[in-house]
Symmetry: C2
């Protein structure tokens, strides 16, 4: 097969959330293993290209963008949790706010869960770490494909990553696969990398990681913070700071946004990426922009995902697609793979 | 009766939490109406003194220390929640963390819940606002008693308040009754007010409100942030800032702290209050330092609460006792009232 290669690890099955507190109810998790399996099934169904397992990369590739204390917590939390006589997955129950200490990490488990997280929908189970680490490896193995000369590659990551910042996790995301991949591209020789985040939700973690840097440009199209998770980041006036000023571009869009408005924002984003002169592009590929997604409010249809892929191909850059969100489970495979075939066919 | 007067409102019954996510489980709330009823029963049993309903004070007394946006949210959240087609109490599901916007409040309900809160154990029910407002009135009516010349008064507040900051709620607390009372004392003519927080948990909200001010001294004895909620504030190196430098005194104490160590910290705190020359003292009276409290780890016994009251009396200042935490429900009345009779008998 000569098509786009997909990197996939069955280790993702090792992370399964017992549930989340959302809208006042403790509900079954929206972010579930079937998601990745359905995308994989569709990759096979359309014969996209070879499917490969990831190589294993050292944790040092992770700590290039994440705080060591966060990485350590993800590895030890569940054992510490059991050590306190508790059962089930490790959940935080309190969080940071204005006036609290950012400069001092409490020693205890509940304190570190509070310090390093920002929501109660991202529990750490006994086997989550292996899934989280393999998801990073899936992203990094995609980088290796680009380095070997591939025009495009698909890192079928799960758990997703774009909500995870340098020193906090949440929004179903523990480590920021796309950000780790972008950093690896730089460390392997790229001078400038663009991240295009097309997930329905703002890539708050990616923004936080690169906000003061000019070697990574973030372009994010997403539900407006006045209406949509994560609410506390993603406005258009967040343009980067310090050396990073001008290298963060947010397109907050209102509920009900359909393809004409969405694709106009995409064109503006692509134009910015072209002007930036990126050596490579990482796409945070969420397909929760789909009209029937259960937790989202945009109106994209199947064919728009194909067009999205074609437009991304027009950049004429090496592109790594990193799987993020998308919760209309039955349709997630079709929409994600439509982006890839649209890219390949352009 | 000539003893200490108690201010109490049955409106507290209008706030009843449907439950909280804590230690990974959605559990019945620890902060429940029986708490106040048991304290009231004990006040009657020992014949402490007259029991009075509160007067009603204008909301402007609240916005002297709290953000208007927070106060508005507490009033409207449940109606907005129902307007979104949801049932039950209003819970946030995501929160602030490093790198998120502190300068911009999102317009939507979930965004404002995220912005203005820091935990998932403090739901807003349909009738919570009346309980919250009456709890503030109970505190302010206690201030009126001190202004009229009483040596001491007991504001039997519920819900409690000391975890609520200027612009956030959490920890079973919505508005900071003790802080609002301290501000009222200043507005009514006091030059300096000391707040002595003897609750098991750090008075993070009170600290945040007055951290940059020298007209309110906070002395807090509490579980160490390395071990105890709220984890992200309460270290000994938090001494105040700007004009407030030197006017915040934390005594973080380890699990297992018993009376000898606890009372030594109290003596140091009382010495500081005396040196400060406060015109009046507000005591954030939590009795979760009791040895059998279900969520705490100090070892105080019944008679230590009596001694605590006597030591507070040694300040020879007007003292307003404001009820905060304490969850060993059967014992909470005995311990709270022991502090008051200890004060009266000294
Ligand atoms: Zn998403
Ligand atoms: Zn307490």
């Amino acid at each position: 097969m000569n098509g786009m290669k997909t990197i996939f690890s069955a280790d993702h099955l090792l992370h399964q959330s017992p549930g989340e507190l959302i809208f006042g109810e403790f509900l079954p998790a929206f972010e579930k293993p079937e998601r990745a399996e359905l995308v994989l099934g569709r990759v096979k169904e359309v014969g996209l290209g070879e499917i490969r397992p990831p190589e294993s990369f050292p944790v040092s590739a992770i700590t290039r963008v994440h705080a060591p204390g966060l990485v350590a917590l993800l590895q030890s939390a569940q054992a510490e949790w059991e050590g306190l006589g508790r059962t089930g997955a490790a959940y935080p129950y309190t969080w940071m706010s204005r006036g609290m200490r950012e400069d001092r990490v409490p020693a205890g488990l509940d304190g570190r869960l509070a310090y390093y997280s920002f929501d109660c929908g991202t529990p750490i189970t006994k086997t989550s770490w292996q899934a989280i680490k393999s998801s990073v490896d899936v992203a990094l193995s995609g980088v290796a494909l680009l380095n070997s000369g591939e025009r495009g590659a698909f890192s079928l990551c799960r758990p997703p990553g774009h909500h995870a910042g340098a020193d906090h996790y949440g929004g179903y995301c523990f480590l920021n696969n796309a950000a780790i991949a972008a950093q690896k591209l730089l460390d392997d020789g790229a001078k400038r990398v663009a991240i295009l985040d097309v997930d329905y939700h703002h890539g708050n973690g990616t923004q936080q990681i690169f906000y003061r840097r000019d070697d990574v440009l973030l372009v994010s199209l997403h539900g407006h913070p006045d209406q949509e998770y994560p609410y506390l980041l993603g406005w258009e006036d967040e343009i980067g700071a310090g050396a990073g000023e001008g290298f963060n571009l947010n397109f907050p869009l209102r509920w009900g946004t359909a393809w004409p408005e969405w694709s106009a924002a995409l064109e503006a984003g692509l134009k910015r990426i072209t002007a930036y002169g990126a050596d490579a592009v990482v796409v945070s590929l969420g397909v929760d922009t789909y009209k029937d997604d259960p937790i989202s409010h945009f109106l994209l249809e199947h064919e728009h995902f194909t067009q999205m892929g074609a437009r991304i191909a027009s950049l004429r850059k090496p592109v790594l697609f990193v799987m993020e969100g998308g919760y209309a489970v039955a349709e997630i495979g079709i929409n994600a793979v439509n982006v890839l075939t649209g890219f390949e066919g352009a």
